[in-house]
Symmetry: C2
Subunit: 314 residues, 2 copies
């Protein structure tokens, strides 16, 4: 089924004409899948995403293999991809200086650090306080910039924390400001546990604007645990955000398990943006075919509604 | 995980303070499930929905059993429910005068008719043209009103048709106007195949307002086939609509099959509205418990993200 094309042009109002999809399936998606894919499949996945028109693709993470065995093959993957795995639009996650060293040694020039808005998650995920994590990021960002790399800063748990519950907006803003003051190019607001709703998104964006972090430097990263990811992404876009994270096929989630903490499915986002007349440059049919192929490699269905609806037509 | 409660009150802007959820799980949901539930389970389901705070519950359909065997027990269900199955907030679907006769004989005083915005669906579903279907509805609505019943008019395929593709807004408005002119109390815009996006919703609501059908008489009914149902419902609410259809647990859909044409899950809608500070009167925990119970009776997982996320906590 085709999306209806309206005869008169849509009243796009304050919607931006174009949104950059920051595709996180190969990193955030695959690191949360039980099944570990062979490096050849990962490289094929990145190639198919590129072919489908995804401009920005986070390729992998240079995290210690003992923590994320799913991505232990970062070096091999980049070697396999060659020039396709490097460049401003092929960021990799670097948790610390050791990760940065590994990335820079391979010629990467676009990196992402991964911080936390809450003390509990900083302790559980980074094994340090928020202050200590910012101290850890300082040389990473400085050295990345010295090397000419673009730097994204993820801040996770911006809308809720599984241990702490509510996370005050003032606290999130404070962490974001301190991380951006390190010299990062882009801030990404992560709803790691998927609890946000659109009003909350709007309020956090407003509060960040009040301290000088405008929507031109902000990306949003929603998980679909409670089915809110698309609505939240559209709320952010309505506020002027033009960088939205999503994962092909909703990778990292499970369509029917309790732990359905997957990213927003890129296909579901594209369906909405195409309908709203917002350009993404992505060929939905090719992307669905990619996700169908990958679901086969992972041996489980995709949690993306669009993928399931269109699977037999691609 | 609890939804974050923001410290300062949410800037609800033009959001209505309260939305009426028109629960369609027992009718639209169950009629699209392969498994036929025994009447005792259906009655228990309606009782649990009531207990969870759902004010308006469409109970069943008085359609010919040969067409919808899932709902062949309409009389038995109403007998089982007694007063709980009747009243202004317990509508039943009546496809024609024969269905109306059956409903009125049982003391029902709230009914819904089911029209089509497109000729192809009218022919395939109602076995008549759109004109002929309106002729068929005329005495149904007149007699229902004479009997003191409240009348809802569903218009299906308002945003796209599986055979015709795009459906012009002018055509939808024309059908809606003619059906409302019969004397119906409420118009419900059905996105039967789930293809709508928020700008389309806004445009149709604007066009209906232009012919005098205001949002105070309009309900919206979105299916989640392409993952757009919540975003579309919120778009309608943002335009002033205060009646939104949804089905407990996303009934009628399948979490991972191609035919994932289920309704918007009531739980996912409640999560969003609670977060936005819009009252619904529904106890989410009780509703999730209801959907978990029903999924067990149906022998398959719920497609609702919220149900899956909270299933083990209720």
């Amino acid at each position: 089924m085709r999306r209806p094309q309206l005869e008169p042009p849509l009243p796009s109002g304050s919607l931006p004409p174009r949104v950059t999809i920051y595709e996180v399936g190969a990193r955030d998606g695959l690191q949360n899948e039980k099944q570990i894919l062979p490096v050849q499949d990962k490289a094929a996945f990145v190639r198919m995403l590129t072919e489908a028109g995804l401009g920005t693709i986070e390729v992998t993470s240079f995290v210690a293999p003992k923590w994320v065995p799913q991505l232990a093959d970062a070096e091999e993957l980049l070697a396999n991809l060659g020039d396709l795995g490097r460049g401003r639009n092929r960021p990799v996650l670097v948790p610390n200086e050791r990760g940065l060293d590994r990335a820079l040694a391979l010629g990467v020039n676009s990196v992402a650090i991964f911080g936390s808005a809450t003390e509990t998650f900083a302790r559980n995920n980074l094994n340090r306080t928020v202050d200590e994590s910012i101290d850890m990021f300082r040389p990473v960002v400085a050295r990345a910039r010295d090397a000419g790399a673009w730097v994204r800063a993820y801040v996770s748990m911006c809308f809720g924390d599984p241990w702490e519950g509510d996370v005050p907006i003032a606290q999130v803003v404070d962490v974001c400001r301190r991380i951006m003051d390190l010299g990062c190019d882009e801030l990404t607001l992560g709803d790691t546990i998927g609890v946000a709703t659109p009003g909350h998104v709007q309020r956090l964006l407003d509060a960040l604007g009040d301290v000088g972090i405008g929507v031109d430097r902000i990306g949003v990263h929603f998980h679909d645990t409670y089915g809110q990811a698309l609505a939240n992404s559209l709320a952010a876009i309505g506020q002027g955000v033009t960088t939205v994270d999503s994962a092909a096929g909703g990778l990292g989630g499970c369509p029917y398990a309790k732990s359905a903490t997957g990213n927003l499915a890129t296909e579901d986002l594209i369906w909405a943006l195409d309908g709203l007349g917002v350009e993404t440059g992505v060929d939905l049919k090719k992307l669905v075919a990619t996700s169908v192929w990958l679901a086969g490699r992972l041996g489980r269905p995709s949690p993306s509604r669009v993928v399931n609806a269109l699977a037999e037509s691609v």
